[in-house]
């Protein structure tokens, strides 16, 4: 049964709307932190709270990435819940060290330890010298923010704990947003064309590795601690995403504390986004743009021209973390797709402005922008919009199936399709791949809905 909330909505009394969250369009804060910490070499994460959160988050991450993911917990019992979990945390640190021998430990809080008011920075300070490895504490209460905020908070905490100013260096920092391992691989390849670089967080291997044969306690790969240390001395930082509503980010911190110049750009999805990335890389490195990249760009433009006739005016719904929703909107509008709804589950206050900026010839009579909404609300707004495609993570499947239109899966989580970790969103190549998928989905729908058996379109 699909509940027709629409007709039921009429019964709702004034002022009652949207108290209960029905089918959320966001995940919880420490999950994002756990993804980011997977991008640090030799890092193990401990979630400070009851073990349920760690178990749930592991399960959710594993079903998307299809890789082993270990997250420890300080396993609160009722006493710890009442009197504080400091002792549990210390115990868990020592046990994790024995079993995993990590190079660095990350400690993220859960709602429980935050509600109690455990001060993990204090606890960590008290034991760090004894433990002789760096420990990165980060506060990630889920009643404040979403998985996206957790992701950026973890990056900020990492540079705060590790980055230093040493001898000036010519390398570039690239601070990535919540992208796929495939995206990270691509970013590394592109950046390598221009300059020495440090990319944080690099989970391109740890969250999408080959067959091991031998078991590794902590998957190989990730940004090396030395490299994170050196971020304070870099020639400049390119930071992707994080522009919506974040008071501070890793990039801003490096700029304020170590005077590393910052170029913040949105996630480089689509032509303009990719141009901005390539340009920034070229400028910061002082190097010419290689022929191969120029060719990739031209190939994308060529595809835009070819695709235009299929996509122009096609109505789309986009949703997801702010950064991705903004970047995708920018890309879709380049294709002539008409974005009828752009939605996000988190509530930062600046989403609307960012989306408006990103869409070419933004027209508020065409594009609805909704922030802090759940899928029930998205569904309600979408009712009148006659959308033809939906673009976002797996959780929009119900919406797409209700309207009988295709869902192009992007972002996180993807647990009803194979290969979510290998979807490329960024760069000319990522745009090309998304473009192929979108055009083909539109064609497939036309083919399916046509009484003539077209096989030449």
């Amino acid at each position: 049964m699909i509940i027709d909330m629409e007709s039921r909505k009429n019964n709702i009394k004034e002022g009652l709307d949207n108290i209960v969250t029905i089918n959320a369009c966001k995940l919880c804060t420490p999950l994002g932190a756990c993804i980011a910490f997977k991008g640090i070499q030799g890092c193990m994460t401990i979630l400070h709270g009851s073990q349920g959160c760690a178990t749930y988050i592991r399960r959710y991450l594993i079903s998307h990435y299809r890789e082993p993911i270990d997250i420890a917990s300080s396993s609160f019992d009722e006493n710890a819940a009442i009197f504080g979990g400091g002792a549990n945390l210390v115990k868990s640190i020592s046990n994790v060290r024995r079993q995993y021998n990590p190079e660095v430990l990350a400690i993220a809080t859960s709602c429980l330890s935050e509600t109690i008011g455990d001060d993990i920075e204090m606890i960590v300070k008290g034991i760090e010298s004894e433990e002789k490895i760096p420990i990165i504490p980060v506060s990630t209460a889920s009643y404040r923010g979403t998985h996206r905020e957790g992701f950026y908070a973890a990056l900020l905490a990492s540079v705060k704990s590790l980055a230093e100013k040493k001898d000036e260096s010519s390398h570039i920092n690239i601070i990535s947003g919540m992208l796929s391992p495939e995206d990270i691989r691509y970013l590394k390849a592109i950046a390598g064309e221009f300059s020495d670089f440090v990319l944080l967080p690099d989970y391109s291997e740890t969250l999408d590795s080959g067959s091991w044969g031998e078991y590794e306690k902590i998957a190989e790969g990730g940004t090396a601690i030395e490299d994170i240390r050196s971020m304070g001395s870099a020639a400049g930082t390119i930071e992707l995403g994080g522009s919506c509503g974040l008071v501070s980010t890793a990039g801003k911190y490096l700029e304020e504390k170590f005077e590393v110049p910052l170029k913040n750009i949105s996630l480089p999805v689509g032509l303009r986004g990719s141009d901005l990335l390539i340009n920034s890389l070229s400028k910061l490195s002082g190097k010419e743009i290689p022929e191969s990249i120029k060719k990739e760009r031209l190939r994308l433009l060529d595809a835009y021209a070819d695709a235009h006739k299929y996509l122009f005016g096609v109505k789309a719904i986009v949703y997801g973390e702010e950064d991705l929703a903004v970047a995708l909107s920018s890309f879709l509008s380049e294709l002539g797709i008409s974005i009828v709804l752009c939605a996000s589950g988190s509530n930062t206050g600046s989403f609307k402005e960012e989306v408006e900026k990103s869409i070419i010839d933004f027209d508020e009579s065409v594009t609805h922008i909704a922030e802090g909404v759940d899928f029930e609300k998205i569904d309600e707004i979408a009712a009148e919009l006659e959308a033809e495609i939906v673009i976002g993570n797996s959780k929009g499947y119900k919406l797409a199936s209700k309207f009988g239109i295709p869902l192009i899966r992007t972002g996180f989580p993807i647990h009803d399709r194979f290969g979510g970790q290998r979807i490329q969103h960024v760069g000319y190549k990522g745009a090309m791949m998304l473009l192929d998928n979108i055009v083909n989905a539109v064609l497939e729908t036309q083919q399916k809905n046509s009484s003539v058996i077209y096989n030449y379109m």
Partner: protein, 544 residues
């Protein structure tokens, strides 16, 4: 290649498993790892249902997961409202692959929905009762369901919201049956505590609300502890229908509120997953006089055996003959496939570390394939699930179990009705049909195998390294670790993407799948042809 169990020195196995732990941890784990001895030797007791050590990675979930996710998760017409921040509800949103089949297209089905109060900082500071009430009001206006369950997550316990008072107040206001579950994640040591809380509240608030005796069959049963993963319940339904058995209710696969309300009118309770539901079985016995016994529908032989038990209980010769004929017919197809698959699987080793009953039940299927389960253990079971209910009087309650409410149940003055006489019960018992009993998993394991409770990630790796089993069964959290080691892995929480595995057709599915998994070519290609092969050995790096 699978190692031969006989070649492995069991004393060494335990040493290996414990070697890297600090002394205190090793002492504790020592009691949770037990070697099964031959029938005339005494197997040691196992320690279970004790708290996981902080920092040791466990596969266990929390109390909330057991309550909202496991027991109430498969209910379709109760609105399950998570009271807490967003994650807890989101992660338990249809992740267990439970299936349900409403009677008609217009019947309520909220299973694909995830309701949460999505607490924000303001509620953490000033309390969440107000928002909770409003959320309920909204659900009432929007959906007007038969019932609403409120599930407390960790922060709720701390800030002191009284979900039960809110439930009472809102029940009166809306006329909906509303009840709360104090299943904060930190209660108890695993999801097990949540099962208990769920059982209590279902019993208090729904069971017994509707006395109408429905249906026309003489054989009226409840199935307890079956959750319809991968469509298991549909296969069991097929079997019950063929035998003219009326399934009054299932707790809680493919269930409905009305079934729960009516469940006390059944004449027999069949207990499938003892761990998660034995409380309800006991309470229904005391209050309404419904006897229960343990059955197992995983494995073709086990299914046949369970059906025969039902036949014996209801007693009449026609019914028993019908059951025998049915089994005979079903077994023809089963045997054809089984023989073919056994030829390809016989002699290989399996390991099962999962749940609170599956690690036992699935050994049956492997036995039918000629495979031995050389290591098995539960994630959240208690000693009685390992060693049988006879150890119940010897289990000491600790702080973690004491904080879960034990309901005091009495005979219902009007509705208590012992379904069979004491004499009949004695007679059946003397014929081997034991009531209110569960023998436990260890009883059925072979000499030299291991029972390991709450196995840790580290021990998992060690066990695989030592025994190189042909297949390892667990959940998704272990899946990719095991596969990275080159061992096929079967998920027995959500069945990967397959199922059903219950009943006769389920057994056929399982045989085929195991054959496909353990005899696939893929694993042979892990080694690239251009690489010289150093001995495959997992390496463990430890700081001392």
């Amino acid at each position: 290649m699978t190692n031969n169990k006989e070649n492995i020195n069991s004393a060494e196995v335990k040493k290996e498993l414990l070697k890297q732990y600090p002394p205190k941890v090793a002492r504790k784990r020592d009691k949770q790892i037990v070697l099964i001895k031959s029938k005339n030797e005494k197997t040691e007791e196992i320690q279970a249902n004790v708290r996981t050590i902080p920092g040791i990675i466990t596969q266990r979930g929390c109390c909330y997961a057991g309550c909202k996710g496991v027991v109430l998760g498969p209910t379709r017409d109760i609105v399950n409202l998570t009271h807490g921040p967003i994650g807890c509800g989101f992660y338990s949103w249809l992740t267990r692959r439970n299936q349900t089949m409403p009677d008609g297209p217009d019947d309520e089905n909220y299973m694909t929905y995830c309701f949460s109060t999505d607490m924000q900082e303001e509620e953490i500071i000033f309390g969440g009762e107000k928002k909770l009430k409003k959320a309920i009001e909204e659900i009432h206006e929007l959906l007007n369901p038969k019932a609403i369950g409120i599930f407390s997550t960790c922060p709720v316990g701390l800030i002191g919201d009284d979900v039960h008072a809110v439930a009472r107040e809102m029940s009166e206001k809306t006329g909906i049956n509303i009840f709360g579950f104090s299943c904060e994640g930190y209660k108890g040591v695993s999801q097990s505590s949540g099962h208990h809380i769920a059982n209590n509240q279902l019993f208090k608030h729904i069971v017994g609300l509707d006395d109408t005796v429905k249906g026309s069959s003489k054989y009226r049963i409840n199935l307890l502890g079956e959750y319809n993963i991968g469509g298991d319940a549909f296969e069991l339904d097929r079997i019950f229908k063929a035998l003219d058995i009326d399934l009054v209710s299932t707790f809680s696969g493919n269930s409905s509120y009305d079934q729960f309300a009516n469940s006390h009118t059944a004449d027999l309770n069949l207990v499938m997953c003892h761990r998660s539901i034995n409380y309800l079985a006991d309470m229904m016995k005391i209050k309404f006089g419904i006897p229960w016994f343990k059955i197992n529908f995983i494995g073709a032989e086990a299914t046949a055996k369970s059906l025969r038990k039902i036949g014996k209980y209801f007693g009449d010769a026609d019914f028993r003959k019908k059951i025998e004929d049915f089994i005979k017919k079903e077994m023809e197809e089963v045997e054809k496939v089984r023989v073919e698959m056994e030829a390809k699987c016989r002699g290989r080793l399996a390991m099962i570390f999962v749940g609170g009953s599956r690690a036992h039940h699935y050994q049956e299927l492997f036995k039918e394939l000629g495979m031995e389960t050389v290591g098995a253990g539960y994630e959240f079971a208690h000693r009685d699930d390992y060693e049988g209910r006879r150890v119940l009087p010897n289990i000491q309650a600790d702080a973690d179990s004491r904080n879960i409410e034990e309901l005091t149940i009495e005979k219902d003055p009007g509705r208590y009705n012992p379904r069979i006489t004491d004499e009949k019960m004695k007679m059946l018992e003397s014929e081997g049909l034991t009531f209110s009993e569960y023998e436990g998993m260890m009883q059925e394991m072979t000499n030299g195998s291991w029972a390991i409770d709450d196995i840790s990630q580290y021990e998992t790796e060690k066990m695989i390294e030592l025994y190189k089993p042909a297949v390892f069964c667990a959940g998704i959290k272990e899946k990719y670790i095991v596969q990275k080691m080159g061992i096929p892995m079967k998920q027995l929480h959500s069945y990967d993407y397959g199922g059903p595995y219950a009943g006769f057709n389920g057994a056929i599915n399982f045989y085929r799948e195991i054959d496909r998994m353990i005899n696939t070519e893929i694993w042979k290609h892990i080694e690239a042809p251009w690489k010289k092969r150093p001995e495959l050995h997992a390496k463990y790096v430890f700081a001392s």
